[in-house]
Amino acid sequence: MKDIHIEVKNLWKIFGKNPNQVFKESNINRSKSEIQSELNLITALRDVSFSVEKGETFVVMGLSGSGKSTLVRCLTRLIDPTSGNILIDDDDITQFNENSLREFRRSKIAMVFQQFGLLPHRNVIDNVSFGLEIRGLQKDSRYAIAEEMLDLVGLTGWGESKVDELSGGMQQRVGIARALAVNPEIMLMDEPFSGLDPLIRRQMRRELTSLQQEIHKTMVFITHDLDEAVSVGDKIAIMRDGEIIQLGTPLEIISNPADDSVAEFTEGISRSRLDELQAVGG
């Protein structure tokens, strides 16, 4: 029996006024587009449940508008879910008040953003140590940790540079270093490499996989790219219209797509890749 780190139970997120009317018996089985046109509400997440084990990389994959970004924001309550529970280390974070939520964000979880979300008025090292600064660490100790993190992501010696002098790939390394600096148990990666050039993207992906073998964080990784999902993920959840339509290991998903739309995704994956996976899995 493995350790369950994150458990999401029946999570719903509905945007709009009076979202609870969706839960009425007459509405609950309506489709996303019906709810949108008749109730003027947007169903971003629909009855999403899954669990993530400790040290596992859980990939959520879907096209834009499938609710994957909303899902990852719910996990740190940047967006409050409409209903459902999120258990992290057996604490239900949907029940947290402001103080315990802040404490939770400071100590347990860190996020990497698609648009990097770096502070342009600060240099690299002050960006990396931002989370530690928020926790109230003294300058010396937070710089020491930040230097270590810069080494880890391959940015040794770049501490004094301005953020906007760096290339996109390097900026995202700063974003990853910033997240790692607070030594979180869980890393949330919201399409971290989507804004980068394809070549850099592949390189960053490889680096992340090898980094993960060193640090063994529980990771929730959002992407719209199946190739990326297959190469970083231990498990993949495929989302459409706010629902998880298939959940399984990369091999399961490629060899046995749940429906035509999933099959369309997997078509792009090369045959050799499948053999590779089968060799590892078998």
Partner: protein, 328 residues
């Protein structure tokens, strides 16, 4: 049915001749009104030449009464403000006048060099020389003192109000129309509340200047904070920032260029108002212009007017240089 048909036809014909017929209508209406005006004067109809009701006396008495009541009951409050402002302004003015002119020029040169460029520094020194050789050094320093005090007060009040407006929708909804009204009012009107509460003098001048100069500071602080990139704010929240940390470590630093643009406008408006405030007895360059004009000494008035322009250019170049450097 018949009526409907008629109406459609009528509308169609109106549409075809709409422009020419409306112009014709307005012109004939105006002619009729003018003819009526002649008629009224010809017939000496007093009722129509002087408005039959006049409540100004009554209203003035009411206002006088309420001001008197305010001053009697809350006089200590206005005295307190007045005393402190007078003290602060006095200190500032005495200091600026006390500093020998070469020292001031060197200080301004270094300031302009540091925050803009050495070219701006040289230009500022030339400008100050011009002010000095026409014997307007002291009034210039008085105007600068009023301006500095007013700008400091505007910033101390304006930035927190701007932050409040950016954070709180209700505060923003209340402030927005007030600021709109403040920015459409002619500068002259601002002198009224100052005289009402503090009488003639420098304190009234400072109040008028603050009221006139504060809106851009509030507005652009509000705007600057609202414009901060949402993804950066989100990142800040995701690391567990509380609201104060979010404000001081992310939102205000990232809004600085916009806030500085607001302060630049505040400074320029404060300069404009501190010269107009000569009307309520503030000293400085405005008073020189006013006095010279009153005594029909045109030459003096023109020189003092140019001095104001030179001062405005100096101040604008320095603060604009700061903004350019920050945003580039």
């Amino acid at each position: 049915m018949n009526y409907k048909l008629w109406e459609d036809n009528w509308l169609k014909s109106m549409k075809l001749n709409k422009n020419s017929s409306t112009i014709l209508g307005i012109v004939s209406l105006l002619l009729i009104l003018i003819a009526n005006s002649y008629l009224i004067h010809f017939l000496k109809l007093d009722f129509f030449t002087d408005f039959p009701v006049d409540i100004s006396r009554h209203l003035e008495k009411k206002i006088d009464g309420s001001i008197e009541w305010t001053v009697v009951n809350y006089g200590w409050f206005f005295d307190y403000i007045s005393d402190n402002l007078k003290y602060l302004l006095g200190k500032m003015r005495n200091f600026l006048v006390w500093v020998p002119w070469p020292i001031t020029m060197i200080a301004i040169f270094l300031l302009a060099w540091k925050i803009a460029s050495y070219k701006v520094g040289i230009m500022c020194v030339i400008g100050l020389m011009l002010l000095a050789i026409v014997n307007l050094w002291e009034p210039t320093m008085v105007t600068v003192a009023i301006m500095i005090v007013a700008v400091l007060i505007s910033i101390i009040l304006g930035i927190p109000l701007g932050v409040l407006g950016s954070k709180n929708q209700i505060a923003d909804t209340i402030m927005r129309p007030i600021l709109d009204a403040m920015q459409t009012m002619p500068s002259f009107v601002y002198l009224v509340p100052g005289i009402m509460l503090f009488g003639l003098g420098n304190v009234a001048a400072i109040l008028a200047t603050v009221l006139y100069a504060i809106p851009p500071c509030i507005r652009l602080t509000n705007l600057g904070i609202r414009q901060v990139d949402e993804s950066v704010v989100e990142a800040g929240k995701s690391f567990g920032s509380n609201n104060l940390q979010l404000l001081l470590k992310i939102q205000i630093p990232m809004a600085i260029p916009t806030i500085m643009a607001g302060i630049n406008q505040t400074v320029m408006m404060a300069l404009a108002m501190s010269t107009i405030a000569a009307m309520v007895g503030a000293g400085g360059l405005g008073t020189e212009v006013l006095r010279a004009m009153g005594q029909l000494r045109e030459g003096e008035a023109v020189i003092a007017g140019f001095a104001i322009v030179i001062l405005a250019i100096i101040i604008d170049r320095i603060s604009q240089g700061y903004i350019d450097k920050k945003t580039l």
